[in-house]
């Protein structure tokens, strides 16, 4: 390369550039409002943080979602067009000063010229797509239509016009340069070249300084405005993504209640249990809120929002941001976060299904944040949802939310020929079968537990149950914000299990599985835990369990949130179905696997109902009906209850069957065995 790349930049430009940078930096203070948050201890792993920032940040991995095709293409064009232009500007910054010119391309280097123009066109096209979407297609979930205070004209549409203006300015500046310098590779700058042919050389000579200054000034204004518009996510979202701990993404953090209770220095009157204001969140949770791009993907997929419940995960996150800014940079008195910005019913509507976190392109963790606010309501104020209160009290008294006697935990086996041994009798086994409260007490789920007994016995597994020693894992309690009860139950179960030897736990309910597998380690309980579908698949594939295809039901599988999204078990249940029915009889719902819609029972919603809006279970059941299948298969205690209920309320007892995978397998076990 040669030094003629370098060109003179007027001194005045630097003065303007400094002002613009300064203004941008000043507005970046919104990023630092997160300092008021609590500490968040997390392992910092340089490589994984770098990976986050490159793949999910710059690489926009999660932006490209099959559920949002239009928006994905749109963002691809804007995102990569923009990144290309930032790259071009950076190269220009160096070459203009004559630095590294031996290594860097110049504007007339053919490939560089080509990608720069292509980048500009992508950016313009993407911005147009965005404008069309926002003002013509108008998905009703986009902020400006739904919530005041979110989305401003300048921040959302204004910045798009700005970007278009900026790109056009770039092309015109380029065209004038090409017309005047007329390099032999000019045609590689395909857009600028075409424009340069539209008028005479003398006109271009006259226009060039205006073009240059026009473009320079718009660029500087753009930079200074970044933190105040949607473009802020380029900084905030990448920071957030980079700092995300993906291993623990979406997991609820423990509070260490016993430590708080035993600490004589705890200021009980003023201690914050859970989060009632922005200061009670960790800096990372606040960074989450600051970096929300208001893309509304979370709310578009949220089963509660879709059912017309008073919850929108985007609103929750952006409300926290509003409150954060009003307490910090704006310094004005506003309503309380809970009760003012966010209502209690909003918080109680969440089923913790995780659909929002699955779709959020900037890796925001809605569920732990919602749970923190629920903790405040329950632990500080004693205000769980009225209907759920009873189930919490019963769990505390009887170790199960139904409130049946602890002594009746094995009553379900009275109906069976198989009597499961208990660990108390055997002391040491290969597999501990975790029946769960639903399996023990709910008549519908007892049948699933009975099917599991048949499977375990048929496959000659060395197993046992805990029987009367088993107590609720605390899934619902924790998700209802009752961390004290959860911690008590977790410790009790861990203590019970520590008396015995077993290799792994098989749970029938994904909620039990998730809690023991992912949440008990915080209390010193580390176990290998699998779901019954994982065990059954293994038994079938190793030939320990022989099944027949003896039904011509068409089956659609409903992915339970805590099996699928929360634990990534998608294939095992499907593989099992392929062994017990003909492949052509398995029909997928449109929303399946990671896009599966919740049955409505998670997050403690099993124990209370938000009356507003439609019933989530009926909505999901109707999706199953749409497939034309004759059986909806599930693999979760709550899902079975919810689907069963929806089947009855919609009057489909004769058209649809609701079955757990274990029941289907148990029905198809070869009778000769």
């Amino acid at each position: 390369m040669n030094p003629e790349h370098s060109h003179n930049v007027p001194q005045l430009f630097y003065i303007f550039a400094l002002i613009s940078m300064f203004y941008m930096a000043y507005n970046l203070r919104r990023l630092f409002t997160i300092q008021i948050g609590k500490p968040d201890s997390r392992p910092f792993n340089f490589l994984s943080q770098l990976y986050n920032s490159l793949s999910f940040g710059v690489g926009q991995k999660k932006v490209y979602s099959k559920r949002f095709t239009y928006a994905s293409i749109m963002h691809f064009l804007i995102g990569w067009g923009f990144i290309e232009l930032v790259f071009a500007t950076t190269v220009d910054f160096f070459t203009a000063r004559g630095w590294f010119t031996d290594y860097l391309p110049g504007f007339d280097t053919p490939w560089f010229a080509f990608i720069n123009d292509t980048g500009g066109i992508m950016l313009i096209a993407g911005c147009f797509m965005a404008l069309i979407r926002r003002h013509y297609i108008k998905p009703n979930i986009l902020p400006q239509n739904n919530f005041s205070g979110r989305g401003t004209f300048l921040g959302d549409s204004g910045i798009l016009f700005f970007l278009i203006f900026l790109s056009i300015g770039g092309f015109l500046t380029e065209a004038s340069r090409l017309a005047i310098e007329n390099p032999i590779t000019a045609h590689w700058s395909w857009v600028g070249y075409a424009i340069s042919k539209t008028t005479s050389l003398s006109n271009w000579i006259y226009l060039k300084p205006y073009m240059w200054w026009g473009h320079a000034i718009t660029s500087l204004i753009f930079i200074s405005l970044i933190p105040m518009t949607k473009m802020f996510h380029v900084i905030a979202a990448i920071a957030n993504i980079t700092l995300t701990n993906r291993k623990k993404h979406g997991l609820i953090k423990s509070m260490n209640i016993s430590e708080i209770m035993e600490n004589p220095d705890s200021d009980i009157e003023n201690i914050s249990l859970g989060a009632s204001n922005v200061k009670d969140f960790s800096w990372k949770q606040l960074l989450d809120s600051v970096s929300c791009t208001e893309c509304a993907r979370c709310s578009s997929v949220c089963p509660a929002t879709r059912a017309g419940k008073p919850l929108s995960p985007m609103k929750i996150i952006t409300d926290i941001r509003d409150k954060l800014y009003s307490e910090t940079i704006n310094n004005n008195k506003t309503d309380d976060l809970i009760g003012g910005f966010i209502s209690e019913t909003e918080l109680w509507s969440c089923t913790t299904c995780g659909a929002c976190m699955e779709e959020c392109p900037v890796l925001i963790e809605h569920v732990p944040t919602i749970i923190d606010m629920r903790r405040h309501l329950v632990l500080s104020e004693g205000k769980p949802p009225t209907q759920a209160k009873e189930s919490l009290e019963k769990t505390m008294q009887n170790g199960n939310p139904w409130g049946f006697s602890k002594e009746d935990r094995l009553k379900w086996t009275e109906q069976s020929d198989f009597k499961p041994p208990t660990l108390e009798e055997k002391n040491e086994v290969d597999i501990l079968y975790w029946v769960g409260c639903a399996g023990s007490y709910d008549p519908r789920n007892q049948n699933i537990a009975l099917s599991m007994l048949k499977i375990l016995e048929t496959a000659d597994i060395d197993y046992a149950v805990l029987g009367k020693e088993e107590t609720c894992t605390g899934d619902s309690a924790r998700r209802l914000g009752e961390e004290y009860l959860f911690e008590t139950l977790a410790k009790q179960n861990i203590e019970t299990m520590s008396k015995y030897k077993f290799n792994k736990i098989v749970a029938s309910c994904p909620h039990c599985m998730h809690t023991i597998l992912n949440e008990y380690p915080d209390f010193g309980g580390n176990y290998e835990v699998v779901h019954h579908t994982e065990l059954i698949e293994e038994l079938i594939s190793t030939g320990k369990l022989k099944t027949n295809i003896n039904s011509d039901e068409t089956i659609t599988f409903h992915d339970p949130c805590y099996l699928g999204r929360h634990n990534k078990i998608y294939n095992e249940p499907r593989n099992i179905l392929k062994k017990v029915t003909n492949i052509e009889n398995i029909i997928e719902m449109k929303e399946n696997k990671e896009s599966s819609m919740c049955c409505g029972a998670g997050g403690g919603n099993m124990w209370h109902e938000i009356n507003e809006g439609e019933r989530v279970n009926v909505n999901r059941f109707n999706q199953a009906m749409e497939t034309g299948a004759t059986t909806v298969a599930t693999a979760c205690s709550f899902c079975t209850i919810m689907m069963d209920d929806a089947m009855k309320v919609t009057g489909n007892e004769n058209t649809m069957k609701v079955q757990d995978i274990a029941e289907i397998v148990s029905d198809s076990i070869e009778s000769s065995v």
């Binding site: 209770m261 009157e269 249990l273 602890k406």
Partner: protein, 255 residues
């Protein structure tokens, strides 16, 4: 305003009740103990009155050591202090003597209002609040469905009468009211309350029952056995009539 709430520990109705071999006591292993249902409403009513009009809520129970749990729960929900009369011997004590025992231990407190549940889920005497009212010479009302303060020393209550009738009554302090279940929505014991309860005072009184002469004695505790049997009588009207007469005269012996 000083409010006393009388609470009692009872076995949860979902617990498996077993009777000890002495046929006089309940086997307490595997029993979940809870606060008596209507007492829980009485406690909530007291807390609501205090929240609205100020004052002090004192919970009082008479029971064995394990009753400590319900006192703690009541304090966690917001009661200010507890009076725990400990019955060291698990003897049956009749309701008249229970009333005397409680009266003897609370009379010096000079409560303005004494609230208790309408009846206990285990023995179901429905008398305690009224006996105490007699002994302390206070006004009283039972089956209270709602309360409303009129002035510093008068309370208006709605009482349930038969067949959908209600009665409003104004009572002067001191008063003893027995509360019907369902009058309010009892609150949940928040962790903050549980933590605060640790520093609230509980006066423990070990009871010497020798000074009380039993009025009733307990013969035998037993679980009711299913004895209902339905007998179908078929035939012509006259046949049926004569069979019934026969049964009434010879089997049930009422004719």
């Amino acid at each position: 305003m000083k409010i006393c709430v009388l609470i009692k520990q009872v076995p949860d109705k979902d617990s498996k009740i077993r009777i000890n071999s002495d046929s006089k006591t309940i086997d307490s292993t595997n029993i979940t103990n809870i606060i008596n249902e209507s007492d829980n409403y009485a406690l909530e009513e007291a807390l609501l009155l205090k929240e609205k009009h100020g004052g002090e809520v004192v919970v009082c129970t008479f029971g064995n050591e394990s009753s400590n749990g319900i006192i703690k729960t009541a304090l966690a929900k917001g009661a200010d202090r507890g009076i725990f009369i400990i019955n060291t011997k698990p003897h049956y004590i009749d309701i008249l003597n229970v009333a005397k025992i409680i009266t003897d231990n609370i009379k010096s407190e000079k409560f303005d209002i004494i609230l208790s549940g309408l009846q206990s889920d285990d023995s179901g005497n429905c008398q305690l609040g009224l006996l105490i009212a007699e002994m302390l010479n206070t006004s009283h009302a039972s089956l209270v469905m709602s309360t409303e303060m009129i002035d510093d020393s008068t309370i208006k209550v709605k009482q349930e009468l038969e067949s959908g009738w209600f009665q409003w009554t104004e009572l002067n302090f001191p008063t003893s009211l027995t509360i019907q279940s369902g009058i309010n929505t009892p609150r949940y014991a928040a962790l903050r309350g549980i933590m605060m309860a640790k520093n609230k005072p509980v006066e423990k009184i070990e009871l010497d029952i020798s000074g009380y002469t039993p009025f009733l004695s307990l013969e035998k505790l037993y679980i009711p056995s299913k004895s209902k049997e339905t007998q179908f009588i078929n035939g012509a009207p006259e046949e049926i009539a004569s069979t019934i007469v026969n049964i009434l005269a010879n089997e049930i012996k009422v004719l």
